[in-house]
């Protein structure tokens, strides 16, 4: 088990180095440079040349890369052109917002999806399963943003139960009031995201349970005289949750990545919206930082999946 984890972590080091080089080179290839936007129209070409030289922009790429990495380790990701603020501070604020929403949505997704999937699989073709299947098909066939807009319109505007924009009310000033206001802002987008997210889990889990029910090892268990309920608890449950567990590790990446649709429709100032805005404003420093961050998060997500999988499935452990 620990050997598997150690090996996986070691593999990640070269992965991260390659990723950072790629991101750096992509950033270099983008039009513009760190002075774009901060140089007046009257700055002469010679002065610009001088500034660039001083900033090391004529050095070979690997020297520039090294400088970039050193800055990175000092927590210096540059300054946002759009906000005129350090990139780290902008991302930090947005990351907290996204984390609130994403954790809420994810907990909800699994809390709803797992029992529903297990129930549907266990009671295949019975009335409860049919209802769940209709729900998943309907949800699946409606585009996510339509669900979001509809939800926003009905519960936000028509019924007025929930706030429709932002992450926290501007009037909330005490700690408690802020927390409550934050919760109030994430309930609707979180619920809608969960409603949509459960569909995959339900469908997947349902078919896993049905497969497990028909499997030879379940037949073996039944031939030992194990009662149906115990067969489900001891044999079917764990075996069918396996892929979901692995999937969960990966979806943690999404916690910080943010959901583009949800944040956009609800004007929720999270990472997804930041990414989108940075692209439309050509805010290269922010884009570079976010791409690097997403890349690293993805690597950690797969690492987490592998660790979870090796913890629950003896077959993937390395001897």
């Amino acid at each position: 088990m620990w050997k598997t984890v150690l090996r996986r972590v070691l593999i990640m080091i070269p992965e991260i180095i390659i990723l950072s080089i790629l991101v750096f080179l992509l950033a270099k290839a983008m039009p513009g440079d760190p002075f774009t936007g901060s140089i007046g129209p009257h700055t002469s070409a010679a002065q610009i040349h001088h500034l660039k030289e001083a900033a090391g922009l004529y050095n070979p790429w690997y020297e520039q890369y090294w400088n970039w990495v050193v800055h990175l380790f000092h927590g210096n990701l540059g300054t946002s052109f759009q906000y005129q603020e350090p990139v780290t501070r902008i991302i930090g604020n947005r990351a907290i917002n996204t984390l609130w929403l994403a954790v809420f949505a994810m907990v909800l997704t699994y809390a709803i999806g797992i029992p529903m999937g297990l129930y549907a699989g266990r009671n295949q073709n019975k009335i409860g399963d049919t209802i769940i299947r209709v729900y998943t098909f309907v949800t699946m066939s409606i585009p996510f943003f339509v669900i979001l807009v509809l939800g926003l319109w009905i519960f936000g505007y028509v019924l007025g139960w929930f706030p429709t924009t932002g992450s926290v009310s501007a009037t909330a000033n005490s700690g408690m009031a802020t927390t409550l206001s934050r919760l109030q802002h994430i309930v609707l987008p979180g619920l809608l995201a969960a409603l949509f997210g459960t569909v995959n889990i339900v469908q997947y889990l349902r078919s896993e349970v049905i497969d497990a029910k028909r499997s030879d090892y379940v037949r073996t268990a039944r031939s030992k005289g194990v009662p149906t309920g115990d067969v489900f608890r001891h044999h079917i449950l764990r075996n069918s949750l396996l892929p979901i567990a692995a999937f969960a590790g990966y979806s943690i990446t999404g916690l910080l990545g943010g959901s583009l649709y949800t944040e956009m429709v609800f004007s929720y100032p999270g990472m997804g919206l930041l990414f989108l805005n940075s692209i439309s404003y050509r805010d290269y420093t922010v884009i570079t930082a976010l791409v690097l961050l997403y890349g690293i998060l993805n690597l950690f997500g797969t690492l987490l999946s592998d660790i979870i999988l090796s913890a629950v499935d003896p077959r993937v452990r390395i001897q």
Binding site: R219, T220, S223, K224
Partner: protein, 333 residues
């Protein structure tokens, strides 16, 4: 002939039909068999003949919503087909043990070998934890697995095919059942391991005085182990008798074809006999008449019975339909 009292499993006119798209199709029809203790009864036939379905019917492993089962399975004085799930659970594993083919998929990949063997003991005995542990080690030893202490902590994928089959056998015999049903126990194994597993089964049978139903398509295995043989085709028993009767005097065209398609070491001809066609699928099964008729098309219809029944040709030796009387292979005709 054994006396009636000694029949401890009496299968009478058992039929099992599966629901396919709303209609029931029989996979086993009107099978009658007796099994005594200290006896190995082999059920032989091609794939799709209903052998395994018969076994899972005895075990009550079919989903009642999708199967229709008729007849009577008398076991130690009660009809298994009338028992409910709880009553069946007291018999499964305790009185009847089942050995499955494909030992890899028959074992739960996420559970340790020891736990899987112990599971039956958990439900059928009042042993303490340490007694169960000791019994599991004893069982692992009995089925001839080296390093029992280590193996019980391992997972199925860490063992070889032969070892896994031994584990499956250990699971089946954990509670010393009176009857064991072995469904193709050696099919997934290579020949040397096959012989070992068959010897092991015979040893266990002698030790526990159990009866064994051995399901196989391999006539070599039958010749080596069985006392009684039932040949099944398309869900029916077409011939049954003692192993000696079946091998010395095979009568039914199907039995003769099966025997003829076995490799013989003294045969001059290298080509094996091939039975034309294949076992029809459930939906395409002929509903009446001799079910084997389509595969021996050169035999005139008048040779078959309209409603084939079992005919006793000598004490204990029965054969279905009349087509056996003048049956000749095509190249003999």
């Amino acid at each position: 002939m054994a006396d009636e009292e000694n029949h401890f499993l009496k299968i009478e006119d058992v039929s099992t039909a599966f629901k396919i798209q709303g209609k029931y199709y029989p996979a086993v029809s009107d099978v009658s068999l007796d099994i005594h203790n200290d006896e190995i009864v082999a059920i032989v036939g091609e794939s799709g003949c209903g052998k395994s379905t018969l076994a899972t019917t005895i075990m009550g492993l079919h989903d009642p919503a999708e199967t229709k089962i008729g007849g009577k399975i008398e076991f130690e004085g009660q009809d298994l087909l009338t028992l409910n799930e709880d009553q069946m659970n007291k018999i499964r594993g305790a009185k009847i043990g089942m050995i499955f083919q494909d030992p890899l998929s028959a074992l739960n990949p996420l559970k340790r070998i020891g736990d899987q063997i112990q599971e039956g003991l958990d439900y059928h005995t009042k042993m303490t934890e340490s007694e169960k542990k000791a019994r599991v080690l004893e069982l692992v030893n009995q089925v001839g697995i080296p390093h029992p202490e280590r193996v019980i902590r391992q997972f199925p994928h860490e063992l070889s095919g032969g070892m896994r089959q031994r584990v499956v056998i250990a699971i089946a015999i954990a509670c010393k059942p009176d009857l064991m049903i072995a469904d193709e126990p050696t099919t997934a194994l290579d020949v040397t391991i096959q012989a070992q597993i068959l010897d092991l089964l015979k040893d266990i049978q002698k030790e526990n005085h159990a009866g064994i139903i051995l399901i196989t398509h391999d006539l070599g295995v039958v010749a080596e182990t069985a006392d009684e043989v039932a040949v099944m085709y398309a869900g029916q028993v077409v011939e049954k008798g003692s192993a000696k009767q079946i091998f010395d005097n095979p009568l039914h065209p199907y039995t003769r074809s099966l025997l003829r398609s076995m490799p013989q070491k003294d045969s001059e001809n290298d080509d094996l006999y091939v039975i034309e066609g294949s076992v029809p699928s459930l939906q395409k099964m002929p509903q009446d008449g001799c079910k084997f008729a389509p595969r021996i098309p050169w035999v005139p219809a008048s040779e078959h019975e309209a409603h084939p029944t079992m005919h006793e040709v000598e004490p204990g030796h029965r054969v279905r339909c009349t087509c056996y009387k003048n049956f000749k292979f095509q190249d003999e005709a």
